[in-house]
């Protein structure tokens, strides 16, 4: 399911989405998405994240979950609290190197491959399906 969150500032709208029934805790899904958006350059230093309340309402999840994700990202230094405005992407961070971005993708690939092998799919069938999804998702 996709929800569109308009950031309350000038930035282009972007999508956060969560899958409550995936095994990954929702707060980690959110953290991964913010990291991915930053690594991929869709979120730039100085950009504001939606407020906790707004994010929780858009995604229909508990506010505590969003707070937890933000707090951890703050500890990591990826985002910082801007008084009276909310959370913004920190300045010092730059777009991740290709290697760093690949590293981020690794756990998901591990899961995908494990499940695909379990389902008895061939390498070719797996790659085909991934490519098909890429074609559908890329604008």
């Amino acid at each position: 399911m996709h929800y569109c969150c308009n950031t309350h500032l000038q930035h282009e709208p972007f999508e956060f989405s969560i899958h409550p029934s995936s095994g990954v805790p929702i707060y980690r899904q959110l953290m991964d998405q913010v990291r991915a958006f930053v690594a991929g350059g869709r979120l730039k230093p100085g950009d504001m994240l939606p407020s906790v309340r707004q994010m929780a309402a858009e995604l229909e999840i508990n506010m505590m979950t969003v707070s937890k994700a933000y707090a951890r990202l703050q500890t990591e230094g990826l985002i910082e609290h801007e008084r009276g405005q909310g959370m913004r992407i920190s300045e010092q961070r730059e777009t991740g190197t290709l290697a760093a971005r690949r590293e981020q993708l690794k756990p998901f690939i591990d899961q995908l491959v494990a499940r695909a092998l379990q389902l008895g799919l061939t390498d070719e069938q797996i790659l085909d399906q991934v490519k098909k999804h890429l074609r559908e998702q890329r604008p």
Binding site: P20, S21, P25, R53, E60, T65, K68
Partner: protein, 298 residues
């Protein structure tokens, strides 16, 4: 000092010779949203009835908002919302009449919220209660419980009779309700996907005992499925520390492990010269793994 909304100490409830609750001890802090899970007959409804004082425990005690469950003061009752599984309301009243009637008991009744819920949940305000469908009746029960904006909301299977759309609307309202920080919600359910969005904590009952009580996120971080493919067949003595389930077929072992971390993975890799992958489990899978009757292979 932490403020507890619900406390029970070694709570037992027998029906004749059947022990339904067997020593329940729970401290639920104010401000949490707790999902109560358990197989049929695990004791969820009995626990809830003991909490709200509708059943007298055989032994042990239970407190809501600081009051003994069996002697709730008027102040605490004003701050408590409860919806039983089986909702009974005066069938001759109309929806509007029952709302007006109920509101008279609560000084802090929030008519604005009620009006909003009537619209969002599509409740027929002029209809008589008698002919309402089970789903409409459930919605009405929930509305009457939320109207006083209670500090503690206890719901027994609140979504059982609701269709998927109504469930979604209800969850949205529940989340809005929970946004006020001091609100505590305890609800029992079988629909784990609903719980995954809303709940901050999970209580799992198994045969009348608390099998598990922890933060939902922590639970998902902790319980994992580990898949191990070794070079040769595993010996019969094969075991994994903290595994709740192990299934071995030749050189493939699949285990559900509590606290699967990097250390365990590298240990398994080395010991069995194996490839090891760790998969996340969702709440339903965790529930099934922790409740299934198969005893772990020794």
């Amino acid at each position: 000092m932490t403020d507890f909304a619900i406390r029970t100490g070694n709570l037992w409830k027998n029906f004749g010779s059947t022990q339904v609750l067997r020593g329940i001890t729970l401290d639920i802090p104010a401000g949490t949203v707790v999902g109560l899970l358990g197989a049929n007959g695990a004791g969820k409804s009995t626990l809830i009835k003991c909490l709200v004082g509708l059943l007298r425990p055989t032994m042990g005690k239970s407190e809501l908002l600081g009051d003994d469950s069996l002697h709730l003061s008027a102040e605490v009752k004003e701050r408590l919302g409860y919806v039983p599984q089986d909702i009974r309301l005066y069938s001759w009243m109309t929806v509007e009449q029952i709302i007006q009637y109920t509101s008279a008991y609560y000084p802090k009744w929030d008519q604005k919220l009620v009006e909003k819920l009537i619209t969002n949940w599509d409740i027929p305000r002029t209809h008589r209660i008698g002919p309402l469908s089970p789903g409409q009746l459930q919605k009405l029960g929930l509305l009457l419980a939320m109207g006083p904006r209670p500090d503690l909301l206890i719901l027994d299977e609140p979504v059982a009779a609701l269709d998927p759309l109504a469930r979604r609307e209800f969850l949205r309202s529940l989340l809005e309700f929970a946004q006020e920080e001091s609100k505590t919600i305890l609800f029992s359910t079988h629909i784990t996907s609903d719980l995954e969005r809303v709940a901050s904590h999970v209580v799992m009952l198994k045969s009348g005992e608390v099998n598990l009580y922890e933060e939902l996120d922590a639970l998902k971080d902790r319980v994992k499925r580990v898949r191990i493919v070794a070079e040769g067949d595993f010996p019969p003595s094969f075991e994994i520390p903290n595994a709740v389930q192990i299934e071995v077929t030749g050189k493939l072992a699949i285990a559900t492990v509590v606290g699967a971390d990097d250390a365990l993975v590298s240990l398994l890799k080395q010991k069995w010269t194996a490839t090891v992958s760790v998969e996340d489990l969702n709440l339903e899978e965790i529930f099934v793994e922790l409740n299934s009757q198969i005893t772990p292979r020794a």
